[in-house]
């Protein structure tokens, strides 16, 4: 287990996390948010904030075998379990189809 600074997101009704070190910036669009990472970007329905010193457990063999996506680890926020995604290989659910930027320009938010 490792303590990390984690940005909490909501996507498709579920809670997810991404380590804050990997986040370059967050922009807000008409249909949600876009989280810009080092190499990828994530579409999110909502951004809940940053949790300091979140306990992140390594993803074990059972998750690796039966999920089919890479994970940096697992965590719990207010009794809700969540996956902390691998910033270099985020799950397909974070595809960029939902979070589109507004037509009148970026509604940028400062990086968390």
């Amino acid at each position: 287990m490792k303590d990390e600074r984690v940005l909490l997101l909501r996507r498709d009704g579920h809670l997810w996390g991404v380590v804050h070190d990997a986040v370059r910036t967050v922009t807000r669009g008409r249909d949600g948010y876009r989280i810009w990472l080092r190499r990828r970007d994530l579409a999110a329905d909502d951004v809940l904030g940053v949790i300091e010193n979140m306990h992140v457990w390594p993803a074990g063999g059972a998750l690796t075998r039966f999920w089919g996506e890479k994970a940096r680890g697992l965590a719990v926020h207010e009794s809700t379990p969540l996956v902390v995604v691998d910033p270099d290989s985020p799950p397909a659910i974070f595809g960029s189809d939902a979070a589109t930027e507004t037509s009148d320009g970026h509604d940028d938010q400062p990086s968390h």
Binding site: G60, G61, A62, L63, R65, G68, V76, T80, P81
Partner: protein, 145 residues
């Protein structure tokens, strides 16, 4: 029910009902049996992975045990019971939740009564009160198991 975390050889097992099958899990691997554990589905998971749960403040993958062993689902597969157990090899074991129909009782099975065979996590079979029971190896449950 709480038991030892150890992986030492033991002839005590937990008899469980999984669909129409009965199986035994090594009791030394069982940490607790809970009812109505709340499970959060995980997008993209296979049918074996029901989702994630919180147990004792820690995240826990929860597996559909009947699907793991290819058992025929029962008439009312609600899986009200979750067996929380150590899975994987001893050096890299992890806690998982196994959704089953019922935790029946603790039984004693001598090693020489087990007929080796089966695939995946099924180590073999044993006859218990003239009924076939599958013997499960949780050490084989993991990334490569």
């Amino acid at each position: 029910m709480t038991t030892s975390r150890g992986d030492a050889a033991d002839d005590r097992y937990l008899l469980i009902q999984a669909g129409e099958d009965q199986c035994v899990l090594p009791l030394a691997r069982v940490r607790r049996i809970v009812r109505d554990l709340q499970v959060t589905p995980l997008a993209g998971a296979t049918q074996e992975l029901k989702g994630l749960a919180e147990f004792g403040g820690e995240p826990l993958p929860v597996l559909d045990f009947s699907r793991l062993i290819g058992a025929t689902p029962g008439a009312n597969p609600a899986y009200p019971v979750t067996v929380i157990a150590w899975a994987g090899p001893a050096e890299s074991r992890e806690l998982v939740g196994l959704q089953v129909d019922a935790a029946v009782e603790v039984v004693t099975i001598k090693a020489d009564a087990v007929v080796p065979g089966g695939e995946g996590i099924v180590r073999g079979d044993v006859s218990l009160r003239d009924r076939p029971v599958r013997v499960i190896s949780l050490s084989a449950l993991g990334a490569g198991g």
